[in-house]
């Protein structure tokens, strides 16, 4: 098989294993789409052998350029048995959906209960998908499917870092589950080959950036370049409904250009106007402009070659008469006629549209969070918390980046969270643990080195700072952490020429593009350990493959600052001297930096990509500005202070720095307005990074939200994040927090937290809920005596009972009728009214058991009326008694009884029978002479 092979279609039987034949295809096409099944179609002669055996459920597998490229399940069979061209019109056209539609064969199965959803808790999406596939295979579905990812690693070996609590509706097809997961940024793909359909999942997306090597150019290989624009869905004025009312988010430019077009956005799950604005602004951003798509038709015989030079998910460069634009490939549609190579239609989406897709994913994620929280009665919070505790020894935090669940922190510090580590440390969000790196950074000058900048490249971390040693290994200012090991990068950097001593260079910014590592900062030499290269103005790049440095600073004196990758290009801050000017410049990829727009009037500190625009923050007038491709303009009215770092979430812009007019050193711009994050931070803030919606900041501050912190803090919007934090933070004393809280009477609407063991998550409950729940519970334990709860209206009480306020002095008093109060007679009386009725006291007796009573026999006592008295020492035994006694064995016709009266003679404690009223009415005086009346 070679990459010049023609295309071939093979017919695979419905067992998806047996190859039935090779199609004598006339013309065919395959449509491959990212995260969608795509489709295929081919046409064969009606009278061919293949036409006779083709049937629904079989698979048409397409090979091209030496490998299987896809195929489709035969779902539609259209036969042209006669048309105007008679024999020439006798064709069979077969078509269907592509390989990924195999997942449509199985669905989310119920859990055996009546529940309409399947709940998954604290699982990666991959783990959930694997669970569903395994279940389906246990039901003999998807028998040909395998997957090359695991619950912990994706198909490229990247670790999954998500932890999801999801509800999936029973009956949802696994294809729709995959589509849902794909909206979170995961790409899926099925590679079909007879007998083996392998599902792959890519955490970081399928494909690679080939925009510097694969060019589609008009005049070279493009047969057609077409673009479409659709404006029917434009909405630029949203009325957003949230929990407590409505807010309006609109885009003025779009309204001016395309007239006002309104829409209601229902976000009732949003708890605050701020969070509703976040989503509203993002939705406006998505809908304020027409949607554009572009497709390119290429003759594959020229190249770039489909599947060889580019594939789904790759980024390529489109050159339309000299204008180069970087695009991602979302669809590939090869059409084969009778030629060796196909015509390929490549569907592209621009970076702008890619941003739209990413934003849509983020919106979905946030909405999902809110919905989950809303469904689960969770809370939306605004809560500042310390990261690292009060025993941290921090001078300043300079940079924060997030890699999966790990937060990397660089700065000037010796200890954070009880862990000694100077200049660089990592924090695991999942368990709240810090990991140090010994005396991680040391310099010959001060023992403790300083970390200035961090850069994440996949699973690798780059660190720049003032240090000459890391974990005992010589590293000058530039290091890489990969696979748990630190190593020096490119021989390090230096301020002075190498002469055996360290004269620390200070990288301030790092960026990687293709195989180049770019650094800027305060250094004059790079590669000091492998062959020093002059870089007098602190801008250089290192070829990670060729292992050589290039100076990028040029010959004009200037100082470089932050780097930014934006739209495939590199930008940097630089300052020139004599005169002093402050610029943002574009790098041409060679040696030239070209300033964009006018210079600023003071220092620039940070850069950020904001959709199609660039944001800069600094000390200049306004503090924050936006480059729209033509000019710089103050963003959002600006600030009177300084902006030190910027980060973006959806269309929200978070800034930190040194200002007070937009909030205390931190603020969020959303929907055209600035929002404070409660009372903010009390001093300069240098770094900000987002973990979903959790905001991690570092700087010089010592309070966050008025709480004491040590230059490092986090702001939570999400209650579950807060709970995770509290769960992991050993410095948080819940008992002390409760004890120190102000007392307050509880009302029905007041809420309390509790831990739900089923979902293993915190939930809330109101006092009204508690009362209602307790009532329901108690009703299951006790009979409600005010109604007829028992059979036949007989009311009963299962335990001992005493009537009257005086509690009996001994257990023997259980079931007693007592005094209402001491000093009163216990006058308990049975009242009866009405002719023919009477008050009565009855003793009922049977031998045997309740369930199986038997007749009373002679001398069985049916009732005793007793008297006892206290003898100055104790309550004596019965001292007087009347007994109602059976005088014969009872039968249906024999109920003979007698009454015995017992007394205790004076000076005695022995109860003695005194009088018996015999069954015949005679009175027998036992203690004296018997007499009969």
């Amino acid at each position: 098989m070679t990459n010049t092979d023609w295309n071939e279609w093979r017919l695979i039987d419905s067992d998806l294993v047996t190859v039935l034949g090779i199609f004598p295809a006339s013309e065919s096409h395959l449509y491959l789409a990212l995260n969608e099944p795509g489709a295929g179609e081919l046409k064969i002669p009606l009278l061919s052998e293949a036409a006779g055996v083709v049937a629904s459920g079989q698979f048409a597998q397409c090979s091209y350029r030496g490998a299987v490229r896809g195929g489709f399940f035969i779902e539609n069979i259209s036969k042209g048995q006669a048309d105007a061209s008679e024999g020439a019109g006798q064709w069979v056209s077969i078509s269907g959906r592509g390989a990924l539609s195999l997942l449509d064969d199985a669905m989310v199965w119920d859990d055996g209960t009546s529940a309409s959803t399947r709940n998954f808790t604290d699982m990666t999406r991959a783990e959930i998908l694997i669970t569903l596939i395994d279940e389906a295979q246990a039901r003999d579905a998807l028998v040909n499917l395998s997957y090359d990812f695991s619950a912990t690693l994706d198909s490229d070996g990247h670790a999954w870092t998500d932890s999801e609590t999801l509800k999936l509706t029973v009956g949802t097809s696994l294809l729709d589950v995959v589509r849902q997961f794909a909206r979170t940024g995961i790409d899926f793909d099925i590679q079909p080959d007879a007998g083996a359909f392998v599902l792959s999942a890519y955490k970081l997306g399928k494909g690679t950036d080939k925009s510097e090597s694969v060019y589609l150019r008009t005049g070279e290989n493009c047969e057609e370049v077409t673009s479409d624009e659709h404006g029917d869905k434009i909405k630029n004025a949203l009325r957003v409904a949230y929990k407590d009312g409505y807010i309006t988010v609109a885009d003025g430019a779009s309204i001016t250009a395309r007239r006002r077009r309104e829409k209601l956005l229902d976000l009732k799950m949003a708890q605050t106007s701020s969070s509703a604005t976040t989503i509203g602004a993002a939705e406006v951003e998505l809908s304020k402009d027409p949607k554009k798509s572009i497709s390119v038709k290429i003759y594959d015989g020229i190249g770039a070659r489909a599947f060889i030079d580019y594939d789904l998910g790759d980024y390529i460069m489109l050159d339309v008469q000299g204008v180069e634009t970087r695009y991602r490939i979302y669809g590939i549609q090869p059409d084969w006629t009778a030629q060796q190579f196909s015509k390929v239609i490549v569907e592209l989406n621009s970076i702008l549209y890619e941003n739209d897709i990413q934003m849509a994913k983020d919106i979905d994620w946030l909405m999902d969070q809110w919905n989950t929280a809303n469904d689960a009665n969770l809370l939306e919070v605004s809560f500042w918390a310390a990261v690292g505790g009060q025993d941290s020894d921090i001078t300043a935090i300079h940079d924060i980046v997030i890699m999966g669940n790990i937060i990397w922190i660089a700065g000037e510090f010796k200890k954070i969270g009880g862990i000694f580590s100077s200049g660089i440390i990592s924090y695991d969000i999942t368990n709240g643990k810090f990991t140090g790196y010994g005396f991680a950074l040391r310099t010959a000058w001060s023992v403790f080195g300083i970390g200035y900048c961090l850069y994440i490249d996949g699973a690798d971390l780059y660190l720049g700072g003032l240090f000459d040693d890391l974990n005992g290994d010589t590293m000058w200012g530039l290091a890489k952490y990969s696979g748990g090991v630190w190593s020096e990068v490119g021989g390090g950097v230096s301020w002075e020429p190498i002469d055996g001593d360290f004269y620390g260079g200070k990288p301030y910014s790092i960026l990687k593009q293709d195989d180049w590592l770019y650094i800027t900062g305060a250094f004059q030499y790079v590669g000091v350990h492998i062959g020093s290269v002059d870089s007098p103005f602190g801008a250089a790049r290192y070829d990670l493959i060729g292992e050589v440095w290039e100076d990028l600073g040029g010959v004009i004196a200037k100082r470089f600052g932050a780097l930014l990758k934006h739209g495939g290009d590199i930008y940097a801050i630089y300052t020139t001297f004599s005169p002093t000017t402050y610029y943002v410049a574009h790098f041409d990829g060679g040696t030239t930096w070209t300033p964009i727009g006018d210079p600023f009037d003071d220092e620039i500190y940070c850069l950020a990509s904001y959709g199609d625009d660039i944001l800069v923050g600094g000390k200049f007038t306004g503090g924050i500005a936006k480059w729209d491709g033509a000019t710089w303009e103050t963003f959002g009215g600006g600030t009177t202070g300084e902006v030190r770092d910027i980060t973006i979430f959806l269309t929200d812009v978070y800034i930190v720095g040194l200002f007070s007019d937009l909030g205390n050193n931190i603020s969020k711009y959303s929907g055209g307005a600035w929002f404070t994050l409660t009372t903010g931070l009390n001093a300069q803030t240098n770094a900000i990074a987002l973990f979903d919606t959790d905001v991690y900041v570092g700087g010089l501050f010592t309070t966050a939200g008025d709480k004491p912190v040590k230059q490092l803090a986090v702001y939570f919007n999400n209650f579950e994040s807060l709970v995770d934090y509290l769960d992991n933070d050993s410095s948080f004393d819940m008992g002390a927090a409760i004890h120190n809280a102000p007392a307050s009477a509880i009302s029905d609407a007041d809420e309390m937290g509790f831990w739900e063991d089923v979902t293993n998550a915190l939930r809330k409950i109101t006092w009204a809920n508690i009362k209602a729940t307790l009532k329901i519970y108690f009703d299951t334990l006790f009979v409600h005596l005010s109604g007829d709860e028992t059979i036949a209206g007989v009311k009963s009480f299962s335990n001992k009972i005493n009537i009257g306020a005086i509690t009996p002095p001994s257990a023997g008093g259980d079931g007693s009728v007592n005094q209402a109060a001491e000093g009163l007679s216990a006058g308990n009386t049975a009242w009866t009214f009405g002719s023919g009725f009477a008050s009565f006291l009855t003793g009922i007796f049977a031998r045997g058991t309740k369930a199986s009573p038997s007749a009373a026999l002679t001398n069985d006592i049916m009732l005793k009326l007793r008297g006892r008295a206290h003898d100055d020492a104790t309550y004596g035994n019965t001292s007087v008694e009347i007994r109602f006694v059976a005088d014969q064995d009872h039968t249906l016709s024999a109920h003979g009884t007698r009454i015995e009266m017992w007394v205790t003679p004076n000076g005695s404690t022995t109860l003695t029978k005194a009088i018996t009223i015999e069954n015949d009415g005679h009175v027998n005086i036992d203690g004296g002479n018997a007499s009969t009346y």
Binding site: W6, R10, S48, G219, Q339
Partner: protein, 258 residues
């Protein structure tokens, strides 16, 4: 001059045959080079031969009108058939080449005299190649791996539909044409005395063994859309086989002529 038969009937028994377009011509190619906007010229695309058309002249002369009418009935019966028929050409060296042809014309008569007509016979050959009447059948015992040998395609066209017969014992057999790079692979074992035949039937590639089982799933190929290609002239073939004892590979075809 060549003589012609159609459906076994020598055309010169019907009248005098003259050539309008003959086999010395070559079938046309189809497809077109690709136009790339804003680029001079076109991009070359490999062409395929189109179906072939051929015309012969026939003059029928009889002694009487009734005899002419009777002869024309014979002519119409011969050419009125709806299926493909063998069009056979006997060359001057008496070698014979045959193609399957369909008569598509209307005879297009010209009355020369009351008892004589001229007409143009129009044939279409869906397969554009004439085939020699002598089967090339080359059997090689694969007793070495690779076994190399030369197989000559005596035709003037590329043979794309040769029948390939694999007789066991063979295992994972790979046949490579070292001239054009085409590779045919049979993955799996063929035990003795099983025989696998790979061929094109009605334009569709099939592979069956002598027990009637479909084994096309064991066949893969590379280098061309056809399963295997023999260029015109000598072809250096190489057969790799895991067993290479007494198994044989046989290639059969009637040489194709343009």
């Amino acid at each position: 001059m060549s003589s012609w038969k159609f459906r076994g009937v020598a055309l010169d028994t019907l009248g005098i045959v003259t050539l309008v377009s003959d086999s010395l011509m070559m079938p046309q190619k189809r497809s077109d080079n690709v136009t790339i906007p804003f680029r001079d010229g076109r991009v070359f695309v490999q062409k395929m031969f189109e179906q072939r058309s051929m015309s012969l002249g026939l003059e029928v002369s009889e002694a009487s009108i009734s005899a002419l009418e009777s002869k024309m009935d014979t002519v119409k019966a011969l050419f009125g058939g709806r299926s493909l028929g063998a069009l056979e050409q006997t060359l001057e060296d008496l070698s014979v080449r045959t193609a399957l042809a369909e008569y598509t014309g209307d005879l297009n008569l010209t009355r020369v005299t009351p008892v004589s007509v001229r007409m143009v016979l129009e044939f279409i050959m869906p397969d554009p190649f004439f085939r020699g009447d002598t089967l090339v059948s080359d059997e090689q015992v694969i007793d070495a791996s690779p076994k190399t040998y030369t197989l000559t395609n005596t035709g003037t066209a590329v043979e794309r539909n040769a029948k390939i017969i694999l007789t066991g014992p063979l295992e994972n057999t790979v046949i490579t044409n070292l001239i054009n790079g085409c590779v045919l692979t049979y993955t799996g074992s063929i035990s003795s005395p099983r025989v696998v035949t790979i061929e094109s039937v009605n334009g569709q590639y099939v592979a069956t063994n002598d027990l009637g089982a479909n084994v096309i799933g064991n066949v893969t190929h590379s280098g061309d859309a056809a399963l295997f290609v023999l260029d015109s002239g000598p072809n250096d073939l190489s057969v790799a086989d895991a067993t290479h004892t007494t198994g044989t590979v046989t290639v059969e075809f009637y040489p194709p002529y343009l």
